[in-house]
């Protein structure tokens, strides 16, 4: 058992089954579908109510995504601890400013490039999740397991735009 926990990487089917169990426990015991993107909206709304109250006074923050330290925000803290524990157990944990191998080969080792892409891409991801009503965890997996059409429309959209984006970024490379 311990040797399994210490493995660098699991088969995606095994790791996926573990995630499935986490969803079963969360949904049946707690009655909550785990999701990640909502946490950023809750915290964003909280910051807006403090620093820019007029911006926060809209339908979205009043009714759709109320600001606050919600269940999802606390869950994100658990996600950080869980992934850290996994990386430490397998001895692969390390701090880095630019992703290894593939990013360096294609875009080079410049920190500003990676951090600009991460910052702007992060905004795009979170905005998309806000429009769609969830992200890969809360909507695609959390909705997919109920066969909600929303989940599959979202995943289709994700690949329709993701594939050309990757093609453009990797133009004539690899």
């Amino acid at each position: 058992m311990l040797s399994l926990l210490k493995q660098k990487q699991w088969s995606p089917y095994l790791a996926g089954a573990l995630l499935g169990l986490v969803y079963i426990v969360s949904i049946t015991v707690l009655g909550v579908i785990p999701g990640a993107s909502g946490a950023y909206e809750n915290v964003g709304g909280l910051l807006a109510t403090v620093f820019a109250p007029t911006l926060a006074n809209n339908t979205y923050f009043r009714f759709v995504m109320p600001p606050g330290i919600t269940w999802e925000v606390i869950m994100i803290a658990g996600v950080i601890v869980g992934s850290f524990a996994s990386a430490r157990l397998s001895g692969t944990f390390k701090a880095s400013t630019v992703p290894d191998s593939q990013w360096r080969q294609v875009f080079g080792g410049a920190i500003w490039k990676r951090w600009t892409a991460a910052f702007l891409g992060g905004i795009i991801i979170e905005y998309g999740a806000g429009v769609a009503g969830g992200c890969t965890s809360g909507l695609a997996v959390g909705g997919g397991l109920f066969l909600a059409p929303a989940a599959f429309i979202f995943m289709a959209g994700m690949f329709i735009s993701g594939i050309p984006t990757a093609m453009i970024l990797y133009w004539r490379k690899f």
Binding site: G20, S83, P99
Partner: protein, 93 residues
């Protein structure tokens, strides 16, 4: 107290599974859009299948009630997905 412990435990399992699947690595996310590494799909669809069986078996046995399912509003889901894909493919998040 359970209000804090429960989400942390769920998050712990969530983060552990994602790290063990290798989804904390840039290339494992980006390469699904280059169709050269399908880890993301294998991982997500296995999770969906396992959770689907478990959740519906338990609710059929009357052991749990189902939460409200994410609402479908096709245009929003699609447009949101289109925006999301651009961000995901360019950052590897």
């Amino acid at each position: 107290m359970t209000d804090v412990i429960a989400p942390i435990l769920i998050g712990f399992g969530f983060g552990f599974a994602l790290q063990k699947a290798g989804l904390t690595h840039y290339q494992n996310i980006v390469n699904v859009f280059r169709l050269t590494n399908l880890t993301v799909l294998k991982f997500m669809l296995t999770a969906i299948a396992v959770a689907m069986v478990g959740v519906f078996a338990l609710s059929a046995e009357g052991l749990s009630s189902l939460p409200s399912v994410p609402t479908t509003y096709a245009v929003g889901n699609l447009v949101g997905g289109l925006i999301f894909g651009v961000g995901m493919a360019s950052t590897g998040f």
